[in-house]
Point group: C2
Chain length 437, copies 2
Amino acid sequence: MMKDINIGLIGFGTIGTGLVKLLRQNEELITKKLGARLVLKKIADIDITTQRGVKVGKNLMTTDAREIINDKDIPIVIELMGGYEPARTFVLEAIAKGKHIVTANKALLATYGNEIFPAAQKKAVDIGFEASVGGTIPIIKTLKESLVANKINSIMGIMNGTCNFILSKMTDEDKMFDVVLKEAQRLGFAEADPTFDIEGIDTAHKMAIILSLAYGKTVNLKDIYLEGITKVSREDIAFARELGYRIKLLAIAMLKDGAVEARIHPTMISSGHLLANVNQNYNAFHIMGDASGPVFLFGQGAGMMPTASAVFSDIIDSARNVLNGTNCRGPLRSISETDMQQIKLIPMDNVETKYYFRFSALDRPGVLSRISGILGKYNISIATCIQKARGKKGAVPIVMTTYKAQEKNVQQALKKIDKLDIVQGKTILIRIEDDLN
Amino acid sequence: MMKDINIGLIGFGTIGTGLVKLLRQNEELITKKLGARLVLKKIADIDITTQRGVKVGKNLMTTDAREIINDKDIPIVIELMGGYEPARTFVLEAIAKGKHIVTANKALLATYGNEIFPAAQKKAVDIGFEASVGGTIPIIKTLKESLVANKINSIMGIMNGTCNFILSKMTDEDKMFDVVLKEAQRLGFAEADPTFDIEGIDTAHKMAIILSLAYGKTVNLKDIYLEGITKVSREDIAFARELGYRIKLLAIAMLKDGAVEARIHPTMISSGHLLANVNQNYNAFHIMGDASGPVFLFGQGAGMMPTASAVFSDIIDSARNVLNGTNCRGPLRSISETDMQQIKLIPMDNVETKYYFRFSALDRPGVLSRISGILGKYNISIATCIQKARGKKGAVPIVMTTYKAQEKNVQQALKKIDKLDIVQGKTILIRIEDDLN
């Protein structure tokens, strides 16, 4: 006889609606693959009246999440409300009741992961969080399972669709940041208050989760170097193009002599690289394993149905465990929670990479020699230099790219250069990663 | 106390050597993630004397695979010998002894899958085969687990590194097929007898495995339409470029009104598409799920360490099952083996796609009208037409691309056109897929 597995959903927003839609749409296929029927027994949300465009019986709806958490017949709880509280409380309570958790809540896991995962391990319940990073892209499974035998030398990710939409539009249509942001808001690709996305905070949350999987270590969120996209200008995008680059908000993690470097900032990458060709609101990950070599994954990082697809992969994983009593057959993150340690990241000052500078300098003799003289003193070697518009009055842009240099030296050199009487305004700095494979 | 899990390796070639290398190289990391020690207890190969560049104790080596198959202390058998026999016999014997199997052998699974998988399900043992398709790319896991709730509307894959290396080189360096094939052989990207790769047979094997995962159906290998790359010419690559396309050997599976279409042939795809930018010997998959939208996966499809990385993901999956007694918690392929059915694919005659034609026609008045007249009669609409070199003596190329047309009509039209007195030589046909997302 076909078994039923009950699931309870907390949070009936966009993704929650997608989940119900997908369950209805592909029910036969899902049942066949699972060998059991998934039954959505209860949905909790503070709003149980708004029509979501999916048919849900009134008796399924409740405003009280604890009707799900305390229901002995629901072994799997899906948390799709987002935010810190009451999500954290609900998840911890559900774990305490022995429920398996499926969640898309990156903010929650990045901030309270060290509370939630050990609690789950103690109760031997699953935490599925494929949808928390990269939406529909199987990045969690790939790091946890597929690349399990690899040292992860680097991960570079485009992890925020809003930022990627804005930068792609600015690049392809030569538009200004503010104009594109408004367009993104109109299209629903950016929130009314877009801070969380455009300042890179959402990316940092995802990066923290990625680090815990790739390195079996947790980090302090604040230690991840973070720069959003608000200062990326049309002018720099145009110079990038001239230099053979595209600008992307990259989250970069690298293993260097056993230590980990993690930073998020607008980055120039070669226009021929796969990551440079991730456009619109898509996400992507470029992983370099010591055995695998480069692995590149691409897909929708958000959205109703793509995210629901990822949530479902976790639900079915957990449902298989419920059916077979095979929960917690592997670590929840990368290694046993009792072995997880918090590490210090390599300080940004010590990071070495290549740089793009755009100086605003007066068009006078000797300008280039004074700027390059200071760079030289700080061990910064110039790779290319573009100086245009000679003869114009006022400041003109001088663009340089460098070979690998140390961040601390770069910051000190720019401080000195910005004080020169011939330099007007703050020098623009964008980091370059072009020795990707 | 830390447990040991014994593994036995049958086949000590390139991938087998990579496996031993990786186990030595990342032993600490693997042990930490698994929570147990993987112990390579025995290696069987007909050649136990050649040095492979990895240290292996003499007592580990045997020429008798049954020393592994019959060893009660080895729960996981890794078959990396390739080919049909004795691989098939060994795998079936190991299954009968209750061993979990990890294999990279696509030929075996594509041909004897309907014997091997049901036998494994009966004995409740795992069959890990991530390395059989796409090398290091997690395509098996993605189809089985990550996209489990999706209807797979299409899969387009570059599944053979040799072909991709040859086509990429021909395209980027404007070289002829024979020249590049020799280069590929010299570099070790092509076998001395390259038939298996360049005629698409290897790709067909992989396609059969992919179909069983994506659609829960098995097919007769011979029913997959198959065209290799030996007829791709510099001239067509140049015309493709002019039309904004690149030529790749694509394996294409599509769901059409519930039926499945599967074909392998040189294909023109838009040069901006991710698949068009998969160069060298890399592999890639572009999957369109009904909920996920496009998912794109890229990596090394072969090679010692990338393949070993995939083999390891299966070994660790199985080792976790051995540790926890959680074997066979999901179907081995897509659905229970007892539900797997063999289906008929949509016949190639009924396939509808876009086409590129290159006619060799005498440069006389009325040529275009006679050719296009025949195409029109068969319901084939011309999208673009390139006619060059007017005034030259002898045959000149006339290139056309079409809107969607039916294969049967196309074949019949070309047969008529090739009989025209003004047409010399056989018309070249290359299929186009340019409405990918």
